[in-house]
Amino acid sequence: MTTYPLEVNRLTVAYQKKPVLNSVSFQIPSGKLIGVLGPNGAGKSTLLKAVLGLIPKVEGDVSIFGRPYREQRKSVGYVPQRESVDWDFPTNALDVVMMGRYGHLGWFRRPGAKERDIAMECLGKVGMADYAGRQISQLSGGQQQRVFLARALAQSANLYFMDEPFAGVDATTEKAIIQLLHELKDQGKTVMVVHHDLSTVQEYFDHILLLNGELVAAGPTKDIFTPNHLQKTYGGRIAMLQDFAAVPAGQV
């Protein structure tokens, strides 16, 4: 019997009365890049937050590597949506990355030279070493995104959740990030990414979840990324959907 990095059973989440996610169940395989797709308001961020225990769930359970999330926090890394924080906060890039180590430090202990070294290394991995001392409001959007990524790397987790890491980044940065995700995957880590650009889905992800209030489909990209499923996820609004999925999956 294998344990999945993430297993979700009949998860229901509601903000007010109306459920935003309705009885969602799925498992994700280990050591893969997983895309979470769906229209705006589909509940993608909500799914991530509920799995991480950031918002209460109405029903259902979540297990990470076969155990409740509470016991697995150190093996989980998180990249929130960039807009979720105030970038005018008085701190610099290196300091933000060091926050990734706080969970390993425990109460009261201050980060020291070791944490600094790890943080520098992670900044280097995302190509931001030169910006370590820069006040975070003076970074561009793409650079801020990289800092968040470096912070997640500093968590040295086995399972990563990333909410739209490609939002507002240029093509070069996107390539650099995807390269990094592949490196994580090669180290046997599992990465779950909320993604919007349907044209790169087949190229980037091994496995996808299609979400629209409920789970439309989940599975290997080549089986699931079909016009039929996309139609169900996004409705009939986008004629172009057909084109994305029409590319024979075998060639990608």
Binding site: L52, V85, T91
Partner: protein, 326 residues
């Protein structure tokens, strides 16, 4: 006036009061930095105003003026106010700013009515409750001063111990929670500490303005630095300076209420910061812009000179060709 000042300074009682104001300003500045960064400045103000009915009820029930009891009363009504704000935003469509406004004015209104009642009742005159509106540091008893000083020091100590946790919770609570840090607990603690800072400050600064002593030093400190640690130390210093200045001036100058003077001192520090702080201040921004403009102009000017030179040459040539044509 100078002699009053001198008497004041040398009086050991007054020295203690000054010390108390200093520590109060320090504690308020430090905890206020987190309040400000968590965008809860208005909440601090609401809590301060909400403290008034708590203080009045504590006095009506006990009939004595005791800072300890008043603190309990103020904390209870502060907590009630917080619940009120929560309930309003949760169960109605009213947004937080409006909820704050409603709770602040309702509690303060009730407080003022109660206070007027107390003033007109038998022992009203001895209550000295009117001092709680705008503060009167000089009227503090020595025991009150000790309490204020010790509580402020505890606030500073907790902020030092939990610096890392408070920083993460203020910057990115979602990430902190995902990491297993007890965000709810820490947020409650910060809120409680804000209430405590407000409450201990009330006798010295008054309910109306005590929130300004919480927030203004933090806002001023933000101008001087981009590092949270430095900002907090500066905010503490600015708070301490304001507290001491306020108490000194109000004590020596015809017994002005302490609150307004303290807040004016803090506001002066803020003004100086806005104008002169390096990097973010107005002067430094202006200088930078002028320097940039000069640089741009210089390079542009050089370009122009070169063009002019060319033109001179052309006209020379034109002249000479004209001449040769002649």
């Amino acid at each position: 006036m100078l002699s009053t000042f001198f008497n004041w300074i040398t009086d050991p009682n007054m020295q203690w009061i000054l010390m108390g104001s200093l520590l109060l300003g320090l504690g308020s500045g430090v905890i206020g930095s987190f309040t400000f960064l968590r965008k809860q400045s208005l909440l601090g103000d609401a809590l301060a105003h909400a403290a008034l009915p708590g203080i009045c009820i504590a006095f009506m029930l006990s009939g004595v003026k005791s800072i300890g009891l008043f603190m309990i009363g103020a904390i209870v009504s502060g907590v009630l106010a917080t619940f009120g704000i929560h309930a309003i935003t949760r169960y109605s469509r009213i947004k937080q700013d409006a909820a704050l406004g409603i709770v602040l004015s309702v509690f303060f209104g009730v407080g003022v009515v109660m206070m007027t009642k107390i003033q007109h009742s038998g022992n009203g005159n001895q209550s000295g409750l009117d001092k709680y509106m705008f503060g009167q540091a000089a009227s503090m008893m020595l025991s009150d001063v000790y309490l204020v000083g010790i509580v402020s020091l505890i606030l500073v100590a907790v902020c030092t111990l939990l610096f890392k946790e408070f920083k993460l919770v203020s910057f990115d609570p979602g990430f902190a929670r995902g990491m297993g840090i007890k965000v709810g607990l820490l947020e409650q603690l910060l809120l409680l500490m804000t209430v405590i800072a407000v409450v201990v400050g009330i006798q010295a600064v008054g309910v109306v303005l005590v929130a300004a002593l919480l927030i203004t030093p933090a806002v001023a400190a933000r101008y001087w630095t981009d590092a949270l640690g430095v900002m907090i130390v500066l905010a503490g210093l600015f708070g301490a300076l304001s507290g001491v200045t306020g108490t000194l001036i109000s004590g020596t100058l015809s017994n002005l209420p302490t609150g307004p003077v303290t807040v004016l001192a803090a506001s002066s520090i803020f003004l100086v910061s806005v104008v002169f702080a390096p990097g973010r201040g107005m002067v430094s921004k202006l200088l930078r812009r002028m320097r940039q403009r000069n640089e741009v102009k210089r390079s542009y000017g050089n370009g122009l000179a070169a063009v002019e030179g060319d033109r001179a040459m052309i006209s020379n040539r034109a002249n000479s060709s004209e001449r040769s044509a002649d």
